[in-house]
């Protein structure tokens, strides 16, 4: 019954989406914005129904209901409960249900909490959200039904891909999806504003919290995913330029650009058409990413199913929504009045440069990701990997970081170059000193990109707190602190990346139990190999004692795990975290003469990469709370003032 109830909830949600679209269209065409009162409850009910359907699918997985096809193909009764639970979205159908759930819940949130938008635009936005949801309901119901039954039921399931059996699965995909799909709200806002021709500062102020919210979650999701890949794959890297990673990076780049341009629109009423365009592009990138991942034209752990029919379906959705939104943009952009002008030397210009650089990186990543598909159409099998992406994204990202120092130190509307130079003196001085120090000590020993990365990271770290210079820190608004923390996070993350690529020490050995291995100031004593067993796996585990100087020795237990269902081997790396870096040990295969392969890395300050990512998200959260709180305060004061007059 649970599966049937879930399916019924989905059909009902889809019909409500249709109703929502119809009501909004009616209201807009007839100029009756009071219909908003009817559209909002429908949107809320639709969100609740998707959440119910998703909860029911989770229940089926938790109960290991082997009469449901999806549970049989992706779960196993002996799996730990956490992976039964998280396994709900560790497959194609489940993750698409998560997608529509996020979309439905986001729509409900817009219906419930949005107060700043004009009634007509609010209604058009909810109509837009319903229109996108409908396509994905159709995809779910006609091409990927998660609730399909299996008759007769299976004895037990086929299990979950062991690479996914990690606590990371419980956190990374839902967070990423909340951000990824949360961008649909920005898309709907843009469509709504184009329909009602109300693209102005008030619209930007209404849209900004939604963009910020999605961007924060996307940042957290990408950061968590990067750390997960780092320890789970056992390759010692934290970003592989895998097409699937690019699929999450591209919406993030667009959302970051949007975040900055929406601030220009909200503060100065400039960049109207461009901001609307970016809102369309950001969610389009989410859909392109889903197409790349779900269509089966790529192979990776993320591509659960290879099914050309599904690929064609998503491609059609892509065409309809992106094409439709761009056509609407082309049709209505003439009606968007020109925004406020600004001088060439101004913060607006710096933010335009930020947007330009982010867009260029986005375009180059997109080209690199799609190029292999293009050449394959002409019969050449090509792979575009890290060498391409590092070479193009690295230098532009560094240029972007330099703009990040200048931008916040530049005034809105108009500024003087000499004044900016004066404010830049300290960060530039720090950068110069670091440059000389590094050049004297490490020139020629580290690559040019990590070298510049270190210099720029330290300059940005100083530059990011420079806007607080000579300010009363207690009276500085929370959203200014948010910007400072987020920019500081970029510096911290860049510093970690540069340290990792400049100073990592790697050692590959074959060692016998009892041997000692020395590397990068560490002594590792390889004690023994022993078999151990977990809930649904057995493993060979190495027992390694790592010590450095006078520090207390620590035990490390890298494993080689065997899963019976499906039959797979995975390597579980062992990590030892110290304030100045991480020791990373992987157990390989048995070599001859009783020796075992060990791969050891010492990665100085590598943890800064993810700590920086967390700071970026934290800065976003501070900005979001700061803006919202100011909104509440203003409203509260206005109400009190009204009360006083009355």
């Amino acid at each position: 019954m649970i599966a049937e109830a879930g399916l019924a909830a989905l059909w009902l949600a889809a019909s409500l989406a249709l109703l929502q679209l119809a009501l909004a269209t009616l209201g807009l065409a007839g100029g009756k914005s009071d219909l908003l009162g009817a559209v909002r409850p429908v949107a809320v009910a639709q969100g609740v129904l998707t959440a119910v359907a998703f909860a029911l699918l989770i229940t089926l997985f938790m109960r290991s209901d082997m009469s449901v096809l999806l549970v049989v193909t992706n779960s196993h009764s002996l799996k730990p409960w956490l992976y039964k639970f998280a396994g709900t979205w560790g497959n194609h159908e489940g993750s698409m249900l998560l997608w529509v759930t996020v979309m439905g819940v986001a729509g409900a949130a817009v219906a419930l909490f949005e107060r700043a938008l004009s009634r007509a635009t609010h209604m058009a936005t909810l109509g837009g959200q319903a229109a996108i949801s409908l396509g994905f309901y159709a995809f779910l119901l006609f091409a990927s039904n998660p609730f399909a039954r299996l008759d007769p039921p299976a004895v037990d399931g086929q299990g979950l891909n062991p690479l996914l059996q990690d606590p990371g699965l419980a956190f990374h995909p839902p967070t990423l999806y909340l951000g990824y799909v949360g961008l649909s709200v920005a898309f709907s806002f843009a469509v709504g504003a184009l329909l009602t021709r109300q693209v102005d500062a008030a619209f930007a102020r209404a849209m900004r919290p939604w963009v910020l919210g999605a961007w924060i979650l996307l940042t957290l999701g990408i950061t968590a995913g990067s750390y997960w890949a780092y320890y789970e794959l056992g390759w010692g890297g934290w970003w592989f330029w895998d097409p699937v990673e690019n699929a999450s990076l591209m919406p993030w780049l667009a959302a970051t650009a949007l975040l900055h341009s929406v601030t220009v629109l909200a503060t100065r009423d400039s960049l109207r058409a461009w901001t609307v365009m970016l809102a369309v592009v950001a969610f389009s990138m989410s859909m392109v990413g889903t197409f790349l991942v779900r269509s089966g034209i790529l192979t990776s752990v993320h591509a659960f199913a290879v099914d050309p029919e599904r690929g064609t379906f998503i491609l059609a959705l892509l065409g309809i929504y992106i094409g439709g939104a761009l056509a609407l943009f082309g049709w209505r952009v003439g009606a968007v009045r020109e925004g406020a002008p600004f001088e060439l030397v101004s913060r607006e210009t710096m933010l335009v440069v930020n947007n330009l650089l982010l867009s260029v990186i986005l375009g180059l990543v997109l080209v690199g990701t799609l190029y292999p598909l293009l050449t394959e159409a002409f019969g050449h099998k090509v792979s575009v990997g890290a060498p391409y992406f590092d070479r193009i994204a690295g230098p532009i990202a560094l240029a972007l970081m330099i703009v990040m120092i200048i931008g916040p130190l530049t005034r809105w509307r108009r500024d003087r170059i000499r004044e900016i130079g004066r404010r830049m003196a300290i960060p530039l001085g720090v950068g110069g000193v670091i440059f000389i120090l590094l050049a004297a000590t490490a020139w020629g020993r580290i690559g040019i990109l990590p070298f510049l990365g270190l210099v720029i990271a330290l300059a940005v770290a100083v530059g990011s707190v420079a806007p607080l210079w000579k300010r009363n820190l207690r009276r500085t608004p929370l959203f200014t602190w948010g910007m400072v923390i987020a920019h500081l996070g970029c510096a911290v993350s860049l510093g970690g990346m540069a340290c990792d690529s400049a100073f990592t020490v790697e050692k590959l050995v074959a060692a016998r139990p009892g041997d000692r291995v020395e590397t990068a100031g560490w002594t590792l004593r390889f004690n023994r190999i022993m078999p151990i067993a977990g809930d649904n796996w057995t493993a060979l585990q190495a027992d390694i004692e790592a010590s450095r100087g006078a520090e207390e020795p620590a035990l490390l237990h890298p494993q080689s795990r065997f899963f019976a269902s499906p039959p797979t081997t995975t390597t579980e790396s062992a990590l030892l975290t110290r304030w100045n870096g991480q020791l990373y040990v992987v157990l390989g295969q048995e070599a001859d003469n009783g020796r075992w392969q060990l791969r050891i890395w010492w990665k100085p300050f590598v943890t800064l990469i993810w700590f920086g990512g967390f700071l970026i998200a934290l800065g976003g959260a501070m900005a979001l709370i700061g803006r919202e709180r100011r909104g509440w305060l203003l409203k509260w004061r206005a109400r009190n003032a009204m009360g006083a007059i009355a």
């Binding site: 210009t349 330009l356 375009g363 391409y388 590959l508 390597t571 070599a591 020796r595």
Partner: protein, 148 residues
């Protein structure tokens, strides 16, 4: 300066950035895109030493030899028409086996041995390097053939 002129400057800068980015992408793709070669392509077309490519085929049965350091292996890759010697230092993927498919990333050295920096083997039954999809190894004849 008039607003019109400023807009013009911004547009020119944006255009220059776009053109520059396009040129950058084209040149980077030309240098860095790694082409996929089967051993027979290597024989007929030739690959210059040091050029990053992907070499794909089957690991010849009985060809895997471990060096005395315990972490380097030597093996031969075949597509049934030609065979190429290869070498790899590191931890091999779990499903890297003789008679099994492999895609090796790396470059040829001057003596004609393929120095692999990374090996991609079938991960599990569901995951296979895309270059190897549609190829099958014939156990009897030790030849590769198309799976269609």
């Amino acid at each position: 300066m008039k607003a019109k002129h400023q807009r013009l400057i911004l547009v020119i800068v944006a255009l220059a950035a776009l053109i520059g980015a396009g040129l950058l992408a084209a040149s980077a793709l030309k240098d860095e895109a790694a082409y996929f070669y089967a051993p027979n392509d290597v024989r007929t077309k030739g690959v210059e030493p040091g050029k990053a490519i992907r070499l794909g085929g089957m690991v010849v049965k009985g060809s895997i030899k471990r060096a005395s350091d315990g972490v380097t292996i030597h093996f031969d890759v075949t597509d049934g028409k030609a065979t190429v010697p290869a070498s790899f230092k590191g931890i091999t993927p779990d499903l890297f086996r003789e008679g099994s498919g492999v895609v090796a990333e790396g470059a040829f050295d001057k003596s004609g041995i393929f120095q692999a920096t990374n090996l991609l083997a079938k991960h599990d039954e569901r995951y296979m390097p895309r270059e190897l999809q549609g190829m099958k190894y014939d156990e009897k004849t030790h030849k590769m053939k198309a799976d269609r």
